[in-house]
Symmetry: C2
Subunit: 157 residues, 2 copies
DNA sequence: ATTTACAGGACCAAATCAGTCCGATATGAT
DNA sequence: ATCATATCGGACTGATTTGGTCCTGTAAAT
């Protein structure tokens, strides 16, 4: 399905939670778990993944914890998804070219690659700042996406 | 992940295959399976789903088979996905509101609903005709999507 | 040294997915 | 009428993925 896994969903909630707190502040896994009402081991696991993905910086030891590696407006949705569940791709052959036996005779492959790019582009215009904005009145995501859609920014990677 | 299941992937390949054949022509499951090199029982199952979703019309009995219910340019990608794997939604709460315990305190829900809409809109501008075009030189999908706001005068790549 | 907290896996149960198979029913031809 | 052909609608199974937990090691601060 075109659905985020629950893991990813939770992970983004965590990121948004951190984004709402004071910039540069450090929070440990237990605290985040309590505040978000999510199971602690799960939170721990997710924060680790996000740190490994370079979106959080981790500080070990007493007084340790996690903080955002960049400002919320510098962190995009596809980055978070990639950190949590690996590369984004609508079809298998986007991620692992050659794994599909029908690849040679497949007529829909190239169109899908394009579609994949469209979706990715749309998502990459949405940042963590958009998601965690307490005042959601200024709906940046939607407007920025449909406005910039006319600009074929980064097609071709 | 933001990934189509293999089922959906195959299903769309089948649709594209039918779209490439003569309009209104009828093809049975076995024939489609042979042509697409996909396992026959699987093809049968997928065609059934697509028929139930109203994208194909089925004819029973001898000389029976499936044919497109509409012209390729009237069938969109989200329709196919929906027929093959149910309603599209990036998050659980898009599809089943109320199922998530954190819903009340969730700060990212509404933004996600918007994002979901953006993705769906992008996909619904892509039709089966775009996917099955034998001459893929005219890359309709991407340009039609990215040029939606402005006038699609020149399609320079 | 002790406590706190992350790092990195191993691990398991549950759910989903891919794929198969079967009996029932409808249609066309003989 | 009968038979062959196809879809219809399930049930069913094995494999994979996911969600979630737990444990051992390591780094930092007091």
């Amino acid at each position: 399905m075109i659905k985020l896994s629950r893991t990813t969903d939770y992970g983004i909630v965590l990121m948004a939670h951190l984004a709402e707190r004071e910039a540069g502040s450090v929070h440990n896994a237990r605290e985040v778990a309590e505040r978000t009402l999510l199971p602690a081991p799960m939170v721990s696991k997710l924060l680790k993944s996000l740190a490994r993905g370079g979106l959080l910086v981790s500080n070990r030891g007493s007084k340790g914890g996690y903080s955002l590696a960049r400002t919320p407006c510098e962190i995009t949705v596809p980055e978070m998804i990639a950190a949590l569940e690996g590369p984004i791709g609508l079809t298998e052959c986007t991620i692992h070219p050659g794994a599909c036996r029908q690849e040679a005779s497949c007529h829909v492959r190239e169109p899908w690659q394009r579609i994949n790019q469209v979706v990715r582009d749309a998502l990459s215009r949405i940042t963590l700042a958009d998601l965690s904005s307490p005042d959601f009145g200024a709906i940046l995501p939607l407007t920025s996406v449909s406005a910039n859609a006319a600009n074929p920014a980064n097609v071709g990677e």
